[in-house]
């Protein structure tokens, strides 16, 4: 595939730049809406990162506010705020990545062993359902289950004679709620991806193993798992590349402005959002955001470099 690309593409230009431009006029014009879109909504905000180096006031605007150098960053570091946000964001993501991938792979492998296609289809559909709903509804579903006064689980625990902990005011146990909600929402999605990868395994290998008398455990251990190794490593590396990016919708709809929980549930995105909407501290919000962008960029580059070394077919660029 790559070879054929190289043959037709990048022919030495026999003509000048303007000639080439004219030759490809229509294709270029077809790209213009997308180019403008990313110019206005992705590139245009970039100079605005300057806010992170100012003491922003709304009337002065981005470039009319006094310049303060690195002071916002210094404050965030010395106050421990940035460390806390970074720790929470990274730890949650690590749990999501590790637990999530194990569960997704586990279910995909199991589903692959089921002969009844109808069963596979129905369970996959049901598991995929939570992926379709808004974060707002996820927040409400969780509230429905665990709130102390009326929650379904509180009620269940109470009817069995126990006492439900007040989860919404307990920063030590609330992370578990977030993790379960996240796994609940993302497992179906990941299972579909892994299931597709497993279906891509050469069927003749499975059949040969069956003929040779390998049982289910042996087939999983010696065929499915080794065949998935590549996919797992690559998904894992890219997940590491995105480890400083949090799932804003989930966290904000579960925690909101419930400050009792911040110490263990505040992630970079929720902090930045509050800086914009509640505390109007645009400078510090921007500083945290810029730190996240730069750090995240470096991580993606490193992850991509490693993937490229392992298997250049899978690298992003």
């Amino acid at each position: 595939m790559k070879a054929s690309k190289a043959v037709t593409a990048d022919r030495p230009s026999q003509h000048g730049f303007l000639y080439r431009l004219n030759q490809n006029k229509v294709l270029l014009i077809m790209c213009v809406p997308a180019i403008l879109f990313f110019l206005f909504f992705s590139y245009a905000p970039m100079p605005g990162a300057y806010v992170a180096f100012t003491n922003f006031n709304y009337n002065g605007g981005i470039f009319g506010s006094p310049f303060v150098g690195w002071r916002n960053f210094e404050f965030l570091f010395t106050s421990g705020q940035l460390t806390l946000l970074l720790r929470n964001t990274v730890l949650y993501n690590l749990v999501f990545i590790i637990l999530g991938n194990i569960i997704q792979m586990f279910i995909a492998i199991l589903l692959n062993e089921v002969a009844c296609k109808k069963f596979v289809k129905v369970t996959q559909s049901l598991m995929f359902l939570p992926y379709f709903i808004s974060a707002v509804l996820v927040g409400l579903l969780v509230y429905n289950m665990i709130n102390y006064d009326y929650g379904f689980l509180s009620n269940l625990v109470r009817s069995m004679g126990g006492d439900m902990p007040k989860l919404y005011s307990d920063p030590n146990t609330f992370p578990a709620v977030i993790i379960i909600a996240k796994l609940w929402q993302s497992t179906g999605y990941g299972t579909v991806v892994y299931f597709a990868a497993i279906c891509g395994i050469d069927a003749s290998m499975m059949e040969a193993a069956k003929v040779d008398g390998a049982n289910g455990f042996q087939r999983i251990r010696y065929i499915t798992l080794p065949c998935l190794k590549g996919t797992v490593i690559i998904l894992f590396l890219f997940a590491i590349g995105g480890i400083v990016k949090g799932d804003f919708g989930l966290f904000y709809n579960l925690v909101g402005t419930n400050s009792v929980l911040y110490s263990t549930t505040d992630i970079i995105e929720t902090y930045v959002y509050r800086c914009m909407m509640n505390t109007f501290n645009f400078s510090q919000g921007s500083a945290v955001g810029l730190f996240q962008s730069v750090f995240g960029f470096v991580l993606v580059m490193v992850a991509n470099g490693v993937v490229k070394k392992l298997d250049s077919d899978y690298s992003l660029f």
Binding site: K5, L129, A135, N215, G249, L290, L316
Partner: protein, 307 residues
């Protein structure tokens, strides 16, 4: 090929030993439990939306309420302009956004996969780079509000959801699978690039359009984030999910959502009202889900393969 497979499967059915039986039984139990866990919270919301407020006060949210009532739905639809307005806003945004976004994405995806388009790598990188690095939320917010002046403007919600680098790459990979000869034959017949795209390519990529269109539509339908940033209380008709967000989180919004209706001498059924609004706001997407989910699955599996 598939016939062979069937024969092989039938052949092995005889040899099902204890390990296989165990794995199968285990799978049926575990996946059934998990699938039910995925469904249960939805049932709970629907059932509790039909409960009376007193029964929830007494026994909490249950899967079979002790007293049924449609009071909260009556409240919502007694002064229906709020919910209908939200529906109209959301449907218009979803339809127009999906059509416009899909057209631009398909056009761009087609141009970028053309092997004879010399700028394709540069433009691809220009688009792709935005997913690697961004300025962060604050500069984006300030630009939208202070420079573009889009506060309290539906465009602030509509525009950013039109496309994403990921969807363009996905479309590019879809179109790449179509033989280049189609384009060549169009060229020989003297058709221009845009005409080739419109008359020869678009009809052949309908499954891709369905998949990517559904991703865009889902983005619009579930949108609440940009609304919460850019739409203040001056906007009466909020997009549905943002309407739900306001009702869940703000007592004032909850009260005003049923303003002017029959709440004289009766306390506001806050809990059931939240649940009923959730059902009304999410219902259509759940009802459509069985018909559209296969397109999502195909999108995921294509998207997982990098081209």
């Amino acid at each position: 090929m598939s016939k062979n497979k069937e024969v092989a499967v039938k052949g092995t059915r005889v040899k099902l030993d204890k390990a296989d039986m165990f794995i199968r039984g285990f799978t049926y139990v575990i996946t059934s439990i998990f699938a039910l866990c995925c469904l249960f919270p939805f049932l709970l919301i629907v059932m509790s939306s039909f409960a009376t407020e007193e029964s929830i006060r007494r026994t909490g949210f249950t899967i079979w309420p002790s007293e049924f009532s449609t009071f909260s739905y009556e409240l919502i639809f007694n002064a229906p302009d709020m919910i209908i307005g939200s529906y109209v806003v959301t449907i218009i945004m979803t339809l127009t956004g999906t059509l416009v976004g899909l057209f631009i994405i398909a056009m761009t995806g087609y141009a970028l996969q053309r092997r004879d388009f010399p700028y394709r790598n540069k433009i691809s990188f220009y688009i792709f780079f935005t997913s690697l690095f961004n300025a962060g939320m604050v500069p984006f917010y300030l630009l939208m509000v202070q420079v573009y002046g889009l506060r309290d403007n539906y465009l602030a919600v509509w525009l950013p959801l039109l496309m994403s680098p990921w969807l363009i790459i996905l479309m590019k990979n879809f179109i790449k699978a179509i033989p280049h000869e189609i384009t060549e034959s169009g060229k020989i017949d003297g058709a221009g690039d845009f005409r080739i795209f419109l008359t020869l390519i678009l009809p052949t990529i309908i499954p891709a359009l369905a998949t990517i269109g559904l991703f865009i539509a889902l983005g619009y339908w579930n949108e609440w984030y940009n609304s919460s940033l850019f739409l203040t209380s001056k906007i009466r008709y909020k997009p549905l999910q943002f309407h739900l967000y306001s009702i869940v989180n703000k007592v004032a919004a909850l009260k005003s959502s049923v303003a002017g209706s029959m709440l004289v001498g009766v306390s506001l059924p806050a809990e059931t009202l939240k649940m009923a609004t959730a059902v009304v706001a999410t219902g259509p997407i759940i009802l459509l889900y069985p018909f559209v989910q296969k397109y999502f699955v195909s999108g995921l599996t294509v998207g997982a393969v990098k081209g």
